[in-house]
Assembly symmetry: C2
Homo-oligomer: 500 residues x 2
C-alpha cells in the first residue's frame, strides 16, 4: 500500500522532473544557439512547460500522496528525504495565492527593463517605484510562506533551506570583524597595481584549451557535460547525466574565461557527482545555493588561485603564451591573480573585499523589508556603507545601488548565498586536507583525485538528501564556521601583503 | 459560444504544440550537442513529453470540442482548416488501440538494431522475423484506421493526406514508361565516369561558407534559423520562428554538404515561410511529406543542378578552390554533378534513376501488405526488379533489400513521398517560370526573389491549410502531374547524353 503510494509519488515527480529538465534545455538553448527571431515563441513555450509542471505538482493529488507518506520511512532513508524535499516545495508552491504570483511576475517583468534603463542612465528614480512595489510584494510573500522570527527567514528558505537571518547575521558579524581591518591594512600598504600580466592579447582558442585541460584533470566529465560560449557564464543541468557549463572569453584579459571555467566546473562537478539513484527525484540536484557556491568557489579560489596550483600549471600557460608570459615570473603571476583592491563592482571584487559587498546588500535588504529604510534613501545608505567598509564612495548609482539585477528580479535574500559559499569553501577544503594532508602536494603535481573524491564522498553524492546545515555538519563535524575562512584570508593575504 | 469553444480548442492545441516543439528541441539537441552519457535520461524525457502531449490531445475534451466546432466555419476559412487538421490527427491518434501502439513501439525498437546487424552482416534472415511481425502490425494498423479500397491508403494517409495507392500507381506507371527507356538509352552511351571534379581535398570551412552564401541568397532567414553538423543531415523546426538545418561535411567529396545544404534549406524555407498567423496551431507546418520533399528537391535539383545556377556560382566555387577547380571547366563541373549511372544505393542515386529505386520499394511494400509476397522472398524480388529497372543486380542484401531503415522503423508507405517530391518540384518550378519567365535569367544573376516569392505566395504561406492535392491544384491549376517532370528529365539528360 505504502509502496504503491510511494511509486505513484515517484512517477509523478519523475514526470515533473522531465518537464522541468526539458524547460532547462530550452533555457540553455536560448542562451547559446537559439536564433534571435525565436525569442517570442520560446518565451511562450517555456511558460507553457512551467505551467504544466506547476499544475501537475500543485495538484491536490500530490498533497494527498505526501500526506499519506509522511513519517513512513526511516529518518535517514532516501524515501524520507524525497518526501521531505517534495513537501517543502509543495508547501512553497501552494502557499502563494495565484494573484500574488501573477503580481510578482508582472512586477518583475516591468522592473527588469526599468532597472536596465535606470542603470544605463544612472538614475535611481527610474527604478525606485518598481523597487517600492517589489519590497511590498516580498513582504507579502514572506507572510504567505510564514515565519516565526523574521520575514527574511521565509525568503531565505527558498535558497538556503533551514538557514535563518540570525545565522547570517552572526556570520557577517564575525566576517566584518576580521575582514574590515584586513582591507584597511592592505590599503595602507599602498601597493602598486600588479594585475598587468593578466591583460594583453590572449588567443581565445588557447584559453579554452587551457581551461578544458585543467577541469578535465579536476574531474569534470565530458561524457556528461559540455562547454559553450555565452555572454554571462552559467552552469545548467538536466539530471546528473547532462551538466553543461558556459564561458565568456575575452581576448584581452585572461581572468574571465580562466576563473569562470574553474568556477562553473565546480558547480558542474557537484551536479555530475550526485548519486544516479536519485535521478528524476527531487534529490537529484544540489541542496542549496550556498552549498553550490561553495563548490564553485573551492575549485576557483582554494585551488585555482593557490600557489601550489600554479607551480604545476603556470609553465603550461607560459608555453601557450610565450610572448606574453615568458618574462612574467610565477610569483608575479600569482600576485596578479590575487590582487586585493577595493572596487565599486561586486562581480569584479577580489577574495578579501567580496563579502563586504554582500554584507552591504544584506543589511539594506533587511532594512527595506523591516521598513526602517525607505527606497528613496537606498543610494545614500549604499554609498555610506561603501565608504565605511571599503573606503571608497560611488560617484553615481550605476556603480552603486543600481549595479545588480537581483532586486529587479525579486530575488531578495539571495545575496548571502555568495558569502555562505565563500565561507563553506574553506571550511570544506580544510576538512578535506585534514583527511588527506597530501592534497596540496598533489595539486602541485596536477593530481586532484583525493580532493575530488573527498568532495564526491561528502558533498556531491548526496544531492539534496540533506539540508545545508546537516550536510556541512556531517562533512566537517561543525555547522557553518567562519574561523577557517578568516584564518585562510589572513594567512594568504597577510603573506602576500607582508602584514605579519 | 462557438467563439469560446474555438478559443478553448486553440489554447489546448497551442499547449500541445509547445510540448511537441520542446520535444523537437530535445531531438535536435540529441543529434547535435548532447553529451553521449545523457542518452538514457534523454530517451526518458522525450517519452514523458510525448506521453503528456498524447494524453492531452486524445482526451475526450479534445474530441468534444472538435464535435462542437464541426461545420461551423466557412469552407475556405482558417478555422475550418484548423478543425479539419486537428480532427484528422485526433481520429488517427484515437483509432489505434493502446495495445497495438505498444506492440508497434516494442517491435520497431527491437527491429532497428536487428536490421543494423543484418545489414552489417548482409544476412536477411536476421531481419526477416522482425519484418514479418512488422508487416502483420502494419495490416492491423491499416484495419484500425480504416480504408475503402486498399490497406495501403490508410498508411499513406499518414504522410500524404488524401492521396491513394491508385494515384501513386498511376504516377509510377507514367514514370516507368518514361524513365526506364531513358536509363537504357543513357546506359547504351557507355559514357565515362565524369564525377572526378567532385572528389579531392576540399576544405570544409570553405564548403560551409559557399553553402551559407548560396542559401542566404535563396532566402533562408538566419534570424530564424541556423546550421549545425550531424552525421545524418536533417531539417527540424519549433514553429516558423526557429527552423534549423544540419549538414554533413566530407573534406574529400563536395556533393554531400553542397547539395545537402541546398536540400535542407529548401525544407527550411518552407517552414520559415508559413504565415505567422498559424503559429501554435496545427496549420503551422508543411502539409505533407511529398510537398515538403518537392520544396527541398526544387532548390537542390531544379536550381542547384542547373546550368544557369552554376554560370553564376561556379566562379565563386573556383575562387574558393583554385587548386582543385581552375582546370575544370564549367561544363565539366555541370556534367559531374549530373552524372547518370545506375547504382545499388537509393540515397546516392542520380535524378534519373532515383525514382526507380522508389518504385521498386512501393511495389514490394504493397505486395507484402497484400500477402502476395512472402518476407522470405523479398531479396529475390528486390534483385529481380533492380535488374529489370536499372540493369544491375545486387551481389548481396546489404546493397539490396537491407539498405534502408524505413521498414525496420515501421514506416510503410513513406517511400513514395520521395518521388511525389521529385515530380511536384518540376510541376511547381514550371508554373513559377510560366508566371515569371525571367526566373532562369535571374538565377544566372544570383537573384532568387521571384522564385522564392512565388513559392512563398503559392506554397509556403499556407502551412497545412490545404491538403496536398488541393494545394497543388491551387498553385498550378492541375493535380499531381508527371508530364512536366518527364519532359524535364528528357530535355536535361537528352542534351547531356546526346540522345536527341
Amino acid at each position: 500500500m505504502i509502496e504503491d503510494k510511494l511509486g505513484e509519488l515517484r512517477e509523478r515527480l519523475a514526470t515533473i522532473h522531465d518537464i522541468n529538465a526539458a524547460n532547462a534545455l530550452l533555457a540553455w538553448d536560448q542562451q547559446t544557439y537559439m536564433p534571435e527571431g525565436a525569442i517570442a515563441d520560446r518565451a511562450e513555450g517555456m511558460a507553457t512547460l512551467s505551467r504544466i509542471a506547476h499544475e501537475m505538482f500543485t495538484d491536490a493529488k500530490t498533497g494527498n500522496l505526501l500526506d499519506n507518506l509522511k513519517d513512513h520511512f526511516d529518518a535517514d532513508s532516501d524515501e524520507r528525504a524525497i518526501v521531505r524535499v517534495a513537501r517543502r516545495s509543495y508547501d512553497r508552491a501552494t502557499k502563494l495565492p495565484a494573484a500574488l504570483v501573477q503580481d510578482l511576475t508582472r512586477t518583475t517583468t516591468l522592473a527588469e527593463p526599468a532597472w536596465a534603463e535606470a542603470r544605463a542612465k544612472s538614475d535611481w528614480n527610474l527604478f525606485a517605484p518598481h523597487l517600492e512595489k517589489i519590497v511590498e510584494l516580498q513582504r507579502r510573500v514572506a507572510e504567505a510562506y510564514g515565519y516565526t522570527t523574521h520575514p527574511y527567514d521565509a525568503l531565505l528558505d527558498e535558497y538556503e533551506p533551514g538557514l535563518t537571518k540570525r545565522q547570517i547575521e552572526i556570520m557577517f558579524d564575525e566576517l566584518k570583524g576580521g575582514i574590515v581591518p584586513l582591507v584597511k591594512a592592505i590599503a595602507e600598504q599602498n601597493a602598486e597595481d600588479q594585475t598587468a600580466p593578466l591583460h594583453g592579447n590572449f588567443d581565445e582558442a588557447k584559453q579554452e584549451q587551457f581551461g578544458r585541460d585543467v577541469i578535465t584533470r579536476f574531474g569534470y566529465d565530458w561524457t556528461r557535460g559540455r562547454q559553450d560560449r555565452t555572454v554571462h557564464p552559467f552552469c545548467i543541468n538536466f539530471g546528473s547525466s547532462d551538466v553543461r557549463i558556459t564561458t565568456r572569453f575575452d581576448s584581452t584579459w585572461l581572468s574571465p574565461a580562466l576563473f569562470g571555467t574553474l568556477h562553473e566546473a565546480g558547480h558542474g562537478m557537484y551536479e555530475q557527482g550526485v548519486d544516479p539513484k536519485y535521478r528524476r527525484t527531487p534529490l537529484s540536484g544540489g541542496t542549496s545555493m550556498g552549498i553550490h557556491e561553495s563548490q564553485s568557489r573551492l575549485w576557483e579560489n582554494m585551488v585555482g588561485r593557490s600557489r601550489v596550483f600554479w607551480q604545476r600549471f603556470y609553465p603550461d600557460l607560459q608555453e601557450l603564451y610565450p610572448e606574453q608570459l615568458t618574462d612574467v615570473s610565477l610569483e608575479d603571476f600569482y600576485r596578479a591573480i590575487n590582487e586585493v583592491r577595493p572596487s565599486m563592482i561586486r562581480v569584479e571584487a577580489d577574495e578579501v573585499t567580496y563579502n563586504l559587498h554582500v554584507l552591504l546588500r544584506f543589511e539594506l535588504e533587511t532594512a527595506l523589508l523591516e521598513g526602517s529604510l525607505k527606497v528613496a534613501d537606498v543610494p545614500a545608505a549604499w554609498n555610506a556603507k561603501m565608504t565605511e567598509y571599503l573606503g571608497i564612495t560611488p560617484t553615481n548609482d550605476a556603480e552603486g545601488a543600481l549595479q545588480d539585477i537581483h532586486w529587479a528580479g525579486g530575488m531578495f535574500a539571495y545575496f548571502p548565498t555568495y558569502t555562505i559559499g565563500n565561507v563553506l569553501a574553506v571550511q570544506l577544503y580544510e576538512k578535506a586536507i585534514e583527511t588527506h594532508p597530501t592534497i596540496p602536494d598533489e595539486i602541485a603535481e596536477g593530481e586532484f583525485a583525493n580532493l575530488y573524491g573527498w568532495l564526491r564522498e561528502n558533498i556531491y553524492q548526496y544531492g539534496s538528501k540533506y539540508e545545508p546545515n546537516q550536510l556541512i555538519e556531517r562533512a566537517t563535524g561543525r555547522t557553518l564556521d567562519t574561523a577557517p575562512y578568516l584564518r585562510y584570508l589572513h594567512e594568504k593575504f597577510g603573506e602576500l601583503y607582508n602584514l605579519n
